[in-house]
């Protein structure tokens, strides 16, 4: 066979090879891909036909040659060998054993998480919304869950490339993980192992916790999505965390319904009736869980009741005029907060929250047995609780008056744990309350805004319903290590590693070279 003919054969193979590579990587989506693949494919086939048609006789001769037979044998044998290795690798990848040599098992799930995952009955799907669709650490974490159960699947999605998905699931920030189990789902905004495992526990729980929101006193509407002061976002946040939200018209009920896991009083504009107040009190006496959001100039009837439970509502409004500097002409009635008390709700919480139109709420459990009250949030030292409400709301002026006003930092939320026995009640167990001095804190605008009100509020709800079955997993990391040198030892290290070892090797090389010459 002539050389030019073998050239045709080789070229044909090259063309076909590049057609296949282009096809595998581009999938032939654009016209350029199609043209490139087609051109290479046609050229390849054409070359091969030309090569073969150079004379079937010659081809037959080549085929019958010993070397061709051996060559074909080698190719077939190699492909078979490769096939075996591929199968081996495929099986190996599916049944891989893992040895985590880090001292704290950083790259393995804790026993609690493994238990949770192994007990899954249905498919669990996790979708992580990460910037650019890339986040190796989160991928590692999620793949660890999938490792322990074939029921777990996960994917990483770039919310900017799939905005419709992000919109559908109400994704607001990067690194949010949506955990889906059957019809239940929840969002995890800080995807640590602890939070993801707890989310899995929440969505797989058989009975749902019921959040009862009291209505009938001019509260902002739970279904109001449009107005910035509506509460639809709060409702969505609750549903997302797998709570059932129920509106309760307490005025027409003899008592708080039995199925309520937590009762929410969300910014009543008109006073509660006496029998409503009694219902709330007896609910608390029986170990109830209450979330109260009571803005300034409302809810006077709650003052004495809450005081019994260690919470003191201030008859004031918090003003922070330093904030006003950045906000244009206003009295400064939207203080920011980033100082948090030591409590389960605010554990690891470092973000800023905003409290528009809030009153002060102080912990006042001194001398009352059985009560533990913690001030959750404090506004900045430059803020104060303005008691001259007429001045603020009618004349539009506010100034810190040393004698009557409450100097900052002003507490604006309190959490109370009440041991009923120690309080002298007949029942065992405990009641829990969280009181915020603002309702706008939980409004659509602030929950969906740039501050972290949603997380704080949902933490509070979570603590109230006392999710005792949730686990706590200590975050693990590679142990911190130090190295200590005296300056001489450091210099010695430099000499040894950078100079001496290479120098000795070089000298040995020169010696060998010199002897050989």
């Amino acid at each position: 066979m002539r050389r030019s003919q073998s050239l045709l054969g080789l070229l044909g193979l090259v063309f076909l090879l590049f057609a296949v590579i282009a096809g595998a990587f581009t999938g032939g989506r654009t016209i350029i891909d199609v043209v490139y693949i087609a051109a290479n494919g046609v050229a390849g086939v054409f070359c091969l036909i030309a090569y073969l048609s150079a004379g079937l006789e010659q081809v037959r001769h080549v085929v019958s040659e010993r070397s061709t037979r051996y060559g074909a044998n080698v190719i077939v044998g190699s492909l078979a060998f490769l096939g075996v290795l591929i199968v081996l690798n495929y099986l190996g990848a599916r049944h891989s054993k893992r040895f985590d040599l880090t001292e704290q098992k950083v790259y393995s799930l804790s026993d609690q998480s493994v238990n949770v995952v192994k007990n899954l009955e249905n498919e669990l799907k996790m979708i992580a919304f990460v910037e650019g669709g890339i986040n190796p650490e989160l991928r590692d974490l999620l793949s660890n869950y999938a490792r322990y159960s074939s029921k777990v699947s996960y994917e990483l999605v770039d919310p900017d490339k799939q905005p419709e998905l992000a919109e559908k699931y109400q994704i607001r920030t990067y690194n949010t993980v949506r955990v889906e189990y059957g019809n239940e789902s929840t969002l995890v905004t800080q995807p640590t192992e602890e939070n993801i495992t707890n989310a899995i526990i929440k969505v797989t729980r058989k009975t749902r916790k019921v959040v009862c929101v009291i209505e009938g006193h001019g509260e902002p509407d739970l279904d109001d999505l449009q107005s910035p002061k509506g509460l639809a976002s709060f409702r969505t946040a609750l549903t997302n965390e797998n709570y059932e939200v129920k509106k309760v018209l307490l005025a027409s009920e003899p008592k708080v319904p039995d199925d309520c896991s937590v009762v929410v009083i969300a910014g009543p504009q008109r006073p509660f009736l006496d029998h409503e107040m009694q219902a709330i009190e007896s609910y608390l006496d029986g170990g109830g869980r209450l979330l109260a959001l009571i803005p300034p100039r409302t809810g006077a009837e709650f003052g004495p009741v809450l005081e019994k439970w260690g919470v003191k509502l201030g008859n004031d409004v918090v003003v922070d005029q330093v904030v006003r500097l950045f906000q244009g002409p206003a009295l400064g009635l939207t203080p920011l907060a980033n100082t948090y008390g030591f409590h389960e709700i605010t554990r690891d919480f470092k973000q800023r929250t905003i409290f528009p139109m809030t009153r002060s709420v102080k912990a006042d459990a001194a001398g009352k047995s059985g009560l533990t009250a913690v001030e959750l949030v404090k506004t900045s030292p430059s803020s104060w609780g303005e008691t001259d409400l007429d001045g603020v709301f009618q004349r539009g002026e506010a100034s810190l008056d040393g004698s009557s006003d409450l100097k900052g930092p002003v507490p604006v939320a309190v959490a109370v744990e009440a041991n009923l026995k120690q309080m002298g009640k007949e029942k065992d167990g405990s009641a829990r309350l969280v009181v915020f001095g603002s309702i706008e804190f939980a409004s659509n605008r602030e929950l969906d805004g740039t501050f972290y009100n949603r997380d704080l509020l949902m933490n509070a709800v979570g603590w109230l319903v006392g999710e005792s079955d949730l686990v706590s997993i200590r975050p693990r990391g590679i142990r911190a290590s130090r190295i200590q040198f005296t300056p001489e030892q450091s210099l010695m290290t430099f000499y040894l590693t950078v100079l001496l070892i290479p120098q000795l090797l070089l000298i040995a090389g020169i010696a060998v070279w010199w002897r050989r010459e």
């Binding site: 595998a24 891989s96 040599l101 290590s481 190295i483 040894l496 070279w513």
Partner: protein, 257 residues
């Protein structure tokens, strides 16, 4: 097997009487020392900075494994990509050029013994090479307290990576009588295996998984983190076995071509 060791010994001696071994070792240790010393310096600098900032939280995250050992091994792996082809380029190409290839093939040795012998020779050389770098973790363990488990896993990864590189080098060397061609084609294959997973983040899920699996880096970086998975061992084993098998076939082909 005795014959294979004889060949290995001969290979190793040949390496050490030629200047290549010394150039490679000197260069490797010079770069390694430079990396190590500077990473260590940077680590101390960071520790001092955060001590002066009084941020205990950041301090508790500073550790020698992540800030010194992992980048050191990563850098050494890149240097190996360049140096291993230089070590292996001679193995068959030099014999072909010098005309000793026929002698070797007509000797009573089996082809498997020849290939395995040369393989063992290269592995022994790599062991010496990586053995010399053990001085770095030794210094860390003497003066500091890194986690030894992670270092061990990382070194195992680096060793398997180097051996995989070497088998690819043997294969390309068996194809040609030109050492430059052998070294450069090995370098290209290794670089390709190193970066093949780059488009994975944007590719479809199946293709991404395949590309990621093919990439040497993915398997290596797991081990550098301190995680040894059987699938990574199987992957490295497969690369080594496949390259040796193909080398065997390539050497054998002289007999019938």
């Amino acid at each position: 097997m005795k014959n294979a060791f004889t060949i290995a010994g001969k290979e190793l001696r040949a390496a050490f009487v030629s200047p290549i071994a010394y150039v490679v070792l000197t260069g490797f240790m010079l770069l390694g020392g430079w990396f190590f010393f500077n990473l260590l310096n940077r680590f101390n600098f960071l520790v001092q900075i955060y001590m002066s900032f009084r941020s205990p939280e950041v301090q508790s995250r500073l550790n020698l494994n992540e800030l010194v050992v992992a980048p050191l091994l990563g850098n050494l792996s890149v240097v190996l990509i360049i140096l291993v082809p230089v070590i292996t380029m001679r193995s068959f190409a030099e014999e072909k050029r010098a005309g000793t290839y026929e002698l070797l093939l007509t000797s009573p040795l089996s082809i498997a013994e020849i290939v395995i012998g040369k393989f063992i020779g290269v592995v022994a050389f790599l062991l010496i090479m990586l053995g010399l770098t053990a001085v770095y973790p030794a210094i860390l363990l003497i003066y500091g307290n890194p986690e030894p488990g992670i270092i061990a896993a990382g070194y195992l990864g680096l060793f398997l990576l180097a051996v995989s590189f070497a088998t690819v080098g043997l294969l390309t060397s068996s194809f040609t009588d030109n050492q430059i061609v052998a070294a450069v084609s090995c370098l290209i294959v290794l670089l390709l295996l190193y970066v093949i997973s780059w488009p994975a983040e944007t590719a479809g899920p199946t293709l991404a998984a395949v590309l990621r699996y093919l990439s040497l880096t993915e398997h290596f970086s797991e081990m550098v983190k301190g995680v040894i998975e059987t699938k990574d061992l199987i992957y490295f084993g497969s690369v080594i076995v496949l390259a040796l098998y193909l080398t065997h076939r390539s050497v054998e082909s002289v007999r019938w071509r």
